[in-house]
Amino acid sequence: MNHFHDWGYLLAAFAGLTVATVVTRGSFFMLPARYALPAQVERALRYAPACALTAIVAQGVLTKNHEPNLTVHNYQLWALLAAAATFIKTRNMIATISVGMAVFTVLRVWA
């Protein structure tokens, strides 16, 4: 079943995601001034978003049907590498997505 047609699931999901936005952006705006962010906590917080995004991208691109998918026939992997190189060189999101999708499409159609 497609969970995107289950409004109960979606409404609960969106409510929780909105809470996730409000409590993080609001955090220290809403807390009384006497509560500060401890340096050690701030260090951990700095790394969490990058790691969470990495975990999502890694499972999305490097796995398939709950199995690792690390072969040369994984065209998404080549597209990701090309996109990463493009972003590091240009810092341009449009170029990054265009190059990645172009590499993926060329491999998918001809390889």
């Binding site: 409510a15 995601l17 909105t18 409000v22 809403m30 790394y47 969490a48 790691c51 991208v57």
Partner: protein, 245 residues
Amino acid sequence: MMVGMSKLLPPIDHAAYREGIGVMMPLGPAIAVWGVVTGVAMVNAGLSIPAALLMTFTVFAGSAQLATMPLLATGAPLPIVWVTALLVNLRFVIFAAASRRSFMHLPWRQRLLASYLNGDLGFALFSRRFANAEEHGNPEQWGYFYGLAVFNWIVWQAGSVIGFMVGGLLPSDWGFELAAYLALLAVLIPMVQRMPAIAGVISTAAVAVAAVRLPMRLGLLLAVLVGVTVALLGEAWRDRHASHS
């Protein structure tokens, strides 16, 4: 219950408001593209347009929306979806701690609205503009903040809505879900500039792939836990190393 705008907005200096808009204007195309990519990815993953509209106008966090889309599409357990969004959003806690001094003395409703609009770009520009200000919390700063925030909100939401409409027209067998991961990559790379962070994300990727068979997508959380630990250990090791030399 109606709350008048005067209760939601602090006093605003209009010249500073226009200055904020002017500073954000050159970034308009990039903000719009980010919105379009997010919008296309949401509809392409299978969200209906009403659901997508509801999501964008409540959640209002592009990276978290993109990151949770593959989880929602496979019906992942909601706690995993929420925790993933929280982890991606933790950077906002740092932003809030860093810019609170300009907002701290406002009534809570005004702080709540301002914080909700305090995204990546606005925070960066606001911090740069008032880094060396002698006074924090005045109509000039609030005006500049709202110039940035209003422009960003309108352009990003407009881009998202365009993305919802365009996304429905794209053929679904082109593998466009990859574009969402590529967009996340562009958000991710600037966060990973130093050795501890690089070690952290490499460990995260390895664990995320190796632990993908764990039930309920728990491999995601395990991967983040390992990655953050490795990054913190790397930082401690680097600091110790630096103090010896």
